[in-house]
Amino acid sequence: MARRTPLGWPVLRQAAGPDRTGRGAAARAEGREMPRARTATADAVVKSVCPYCAVGCGQDVYVQDGRVVQIEGDPGSPVSRGRLCPKGAASLQLTTGPARRSAVLYRAPHATSWRTLDLDTAMAMVADRVVRTRRETWSWQEEGRRVRRTMGIASLGGATLDNEENYLMKKLYTALGAVQIENQARI
């Protein structure tokens, strides 16, 4: 920041400059040429929806150089008219904050700490376990009735996800014969 000098005092500027009545440039505070808002310099505004509760407030996501730089309420939304609550207003921290993890972690049986795994390895390991557990716990019949299922694999979650994600989950689990599929809707 520029060092302040007495020459910047409004009264001196008024006396020395062209604005003798003190109603224009002389009265302007220093720093009036504020940095421009992040929203003003963004490359793109992407339409979105708040990820917290189910009111479904509209969000405008401001993107610059491939990064989200600001998230604001969408004034066009007939649901929210541009407003966001404290949580919705914290969406920028939620999506870009330092608490977010970006690497896969793995804890081996009996291990006392995490280690990182690359994504492909981790995916292959999970796929192997799904295949193995499914086979080990497969059941064609229960009390004489056909069930065609596994009670060895369960899933919890979905209420914070997209419809399309829930759809693929239910479709895949059902094809695998997993029935213990649940989410927050009844919790």
């Binding site: 992407v46 917290y52 004034p75 608490a99 977010r100 896969v104 895949l172």
Partner: protein, 821 residues
């Protein structure tokens, strides 16, 4: 609502500014109470008595909307002679089997003119066995005096609420009820909603603008994850999961579905189109469209029995996806003990939530109940993509789908759940390729060829939405479920969402600004079904098809054009005239232009539910599983068919009056804060939110603080037979002591967001809650249970389970406690 759905609450304030009266019923004084005209603190767990009292008021004072009730509800229908009410059986309905603790619902049926004939009707509603008269008798004892005695709401205040609601209903006015999990998380949760439904039907407040019973749901797509269900008992669009006993094959399944009546007549089209979407060319008429590929259920496979199966070692693999059961589910300890007995656990989230780290730093590691080196569970943590990093739709609490567009790529190895499940399915299919085992055919023949884009091979969410919408026989996206066929010529992933991709256009992505539209705003997003914004809106017009009043006009019959029209999409066949009756023919059911409730087999709103609920055709007040009070209405203390899960690790408190009941003298209720979200996974790691609500606390009244020696900002320990938690004490008059059955009852408020991880920490309120469930929907009772509270922090290490054990001993709790009928 001001606390948990603040931006939605702006519309309540708009209504208030226009003269609406706002009544807030809540044990606590909250930000909603602060701006309400009336705040009614009541005892947690007593809402059926409260609402039942309003029902009685409306009936006794003849304040119901008679023309609406006669035309649109089952009030005039006559119930069979065999039906006996809770008034006759001291808290039980007819058909109760004490041994199995279930109801046989046969005696709840209407009286018919002959076997299979139409139900007998009495439009004067004077027949002693007509539904209206049954209601009168059933609720006759729910007097203002009784409401005061059960709920702790003074008569005068209660009557003020009754009069406000009655005055604000009718042709010219409507009243809306908004609720959240304060109504659902009970052993009688479904019957809470039923009581509100009875009241709103009597007042003519369903299907009309400004009316309704509005579920304020707490997650961005919790509605969507019910419609397209990650739930054990449903397939997309509320089609049931096949049951091994009841659905031996496609025909049996379809027959059971059609018996539900109304639009369920199309069950075969909906299901066959779903099977075609999933198994494509493999699904043919000859193999019942692969109906056999669907796994069958054999009972309750919801999350709590599943956790018990994990503890028992039967359930070995567990995916936890954007949810945090170690904090967010009842009896949090049991959740962790279940995870500690898995072979493998996959957690997908943004941060290292408690459900991912319990094996190294969870509460049981501290108490010594688990030792990290002994825990054999393999744990995978996958970082998840945020909503800004993926395309997709959320369905909000008004059934409206809204599309969010991808703005940026997710960081590092973070991926969407769409990516995870698509590629997991791909990898599993690769591993099973070539298998001739019959168990693998549903996986190998599954349609699983979504186009992928971008640097990470992200599957196209819009392609998935198009599959959900469905494709007609002509190869084009269908416009609605009416185009679905049962011959295998159409596909549809979720019949109630058919139309969301009509014309090949993503209707959920529509964003005509609200300011450029009328008040219905039909061009923003897309609501199921068929973009209707208010369900059953035929009821907004009178039997002749005219709006009940100009003020409350929504849809009406246009005689000149011979069709229904209006501000909203009519929720009825648009060409079915108001008095037109199309008899059943060619397998199609009868339809009537006078019946608004299109999902019901008789088209009527059900004041009395002859089928569909396992715990009674009418709501009755039962005390919660754990309550300091005997039931003032019936000898039957609690919901006789509630689910009480037995587990040596999860015990229940004695009934009131039994020795030991006084060990847990206070009522606990849990709730949310404006600044946090559910189990904290999306809020305790955000510095702004952490700073706004920095610590777990317990709300108590000054009177309770004095009784127990609790100091404001000091520590308190809350104890149940499950566990004990500590919290900072907030002494506040927001928690008003109530006078119930002649004595004072204190209530304790606990926010449930906190856990040991994140920027802001604290014990999880769910450590305290037990596993007593609503029998219809298997939701846990966390809104009303009992506890003790003492000053000071809880003990550490092995002393914590020892404290809980000492309470169990003092209260004489054993395996049988709490399981009595």
């Amino acid at each position: 609502m001001a606390e948990c759905h603040p931006v939605g609450f702006q519309w309540v304030m708009e209504a208030k500014a226009r003269g609406a009266t706002l009544v807030h019923v809540d044990p606590r004084f909250t930000r909603t109470s602060a701006v309400a005209d009336v705040h009614v603190p009541l005892r947690a767990g007593s809402d059926i008595a409260f609402l039942g009292g309003i029902v009685r008021y409306v009936l006794e004072h003849e304040r119901y909307f008679r023309d609406y009730v006669v035309a649109y509800t089952n009030a005039p229908l006559v119930v069979g002679e065999a039906f006996a009410d809770t008034e006759d059986l001291d808290g039980l309905f007819s058909g109760f089997d004490a041994k199995t603790r279930t109801y046989d619902q046969q005696t709840w049926a209407y009286e018919t003119a002959g076997p299979g004939g139409p139900a007998r009707r009495d439009d004067t509603m004077q027949h002693p066995r007509c539904v209206l008269q049954i209601l009168r008798r059933h609720f006759a004892r729910y007097t203002p005096e009784l409401v005061e005695r059960v709920c702790g709401v003074p008569e005068e205040l209660f009557l003020r609420v009754c009069e406000t609601i009655a005055r604000s209903s009718g042709p010219e006015r409507t009243t809306a009820f908004a609720y959240a999990v304060g109504w659902t998380q009970h052993t009688v949760g479904v019957q809470y909603i039923r009581t509100a439904a009875i009241l709103q039907l009597l007042l003519g407040n369903i299907g009309r603008p400004g009316g309704g019973i509005l579920a304020l749901r707490g997650h961005a797509s919790i509605q969507g994850s019910t419609d397209i269900p990650t739930l054990f008992d449903l397939l997309p669009g509320y089609l049931p999961m096949p049951d091994a006993a009841r659905h031996a094959g496609l025909d049996a399944y379809v027959e059971a579905g059609r018996a539900r009546g109304g639009l369920w007549h199309g069950t075969r089209s909906y299901l066959v189109s779903l099977l075609k979407a999933w198994w494509g060319d493999a699904a043919t008429a000859d193999n019942d469209f692969c109906f056999d590929y669907l796994p069958r259920i054999t009972g309750d496979h919801s999350t709590y029995p599943t956790v018990q199966a994990q503890v028992a070692g039967r359930c070995k693999g567990y995916f936890v996806v954007g949810e945090n059961p170690a904090v967010g589910s009842a009896d949090a300890k049991l959740q962790r003990l279940g995870m500690a007995n898995l072979d493998w656990l996959v957690v997908r989230d943004f941060s290292l939530i408690e459900s991912a780290t319990w094996w190294k730093d969870g509460p049981e590691i501290e108490t010594g109940e688990l030792r990290t080196e002994d825990v054999a569970t393999e744990v995978f943590f996958f970082p998840a993509a945020a909503h800004t990093e993926k395309d997709g739709s959320f369905t909000n609490t008004q059934r409206m789908l809204q599309w969010h567009h991808q703005a940026v790529e997710p960081p590092g190895d973070a991926r969407s759940d769409l990516w995870f499940y698509y590629h997991l399915g791909r990898l599993v299919r690769e591993r099973l390729a070539g298998s001739t085992d019959d168990m693998d055919r549903p996986v190998l023949e599954l349609t699983w060829d979504y186009p992928t884009t971008g640097p990470h091979g992200e599957p196209s969410a819009e392609a998935v939405l198009a599959e959900v919408n469905g494709v007609g026989a002509d190869g084009r996206p269908v416009d609605g479920p009416g185009q679905l066929r049962d011959d295998g010529s159409t596909t549809c992933g979720c019949w109630i969402y058919a139309g969301v991709y009509a014309g090949g256009v993503n209707q959920a992505a529509r964003r005509t600004p609200g300011s450029d539209q009328d008040w219905v705003a039909a061009q923003w997003g897309w609501s199921w079904p068929g973009n209707r914004r208010i369900l059953y809106n035929r009821a907004s017009a009178d039997p002749d098809g005219r709006p009940w009043s100009e003020r409350k006009a929504l849809v009406w019959w246009d005689e000149d054009r011979g069709r229904w029209t209006g501000h909203d999409v009519p929720d009825i066949d648009p060409t079915l005239a108001p008095h037109q009756h199309v008899p059943a023919a060619d397998g199609a059911p009868a339809r009537s232009g006078g019946d608004p409730f299109v999902m019901q087999r008789d088209g009527k709103g059900w004041l009395f539910a002859p089928t569909g609920l396992v715990d009674g055709p009418l709501p009755a007040h039962y005390e919660p599983q754990e309550s300091p009070f005997a039931n003032a209405l019936y000898a039957q203390q609690r919901n006789p068919v509630r689910q009480v899960l037995r587990d040596p690790r999860s015990r229940y408190h004695p009934r009131p009056g039994e020795p030991g009941a006084a060990v847990f003298p206070y009522v606990v209720t849990t709730y949310r804060l404006t600044e946090h979200h559910t189990a904290g996974g999306m809020s305790r790691w955000q510095p702004y939110l952490a700073e706004l609500q920095p610590e777990m606390f317990v709300e108590v009244s000054p009177a309770l603080a004095a009784e127990r020696g609790l100091e404001h900002l000091g520590w308190a320990t809350v104890v149940t037979a499950r566990n004990a938690v500590e919290a900072r004490v907030l002494v506040t008059e927001r928690m008003a002591p109530l006078r119930v059955q002649g004595r004072v009852v204190h209530q304790i408020g606990l926010p449930y967001h906190f856990g040991p991880n994140g920027y802001v920490r604290g014990d999880a309120a769910n450590e305290l809650a037990g596993l007593a469930l609503d029998p219809n929907v298997h939701i846990q009772e966390v809104k009303a249970f009992t506890a003790d509270i003492v000053p000071g922090r809880r003990p550490r290490g092995a002393a914590l389970p020892a404290l809980v054990e000492s309470y169990r001993r003092r209260a004489g709790i054993d395996a049988g406690t709490g399981g009595e009928r």
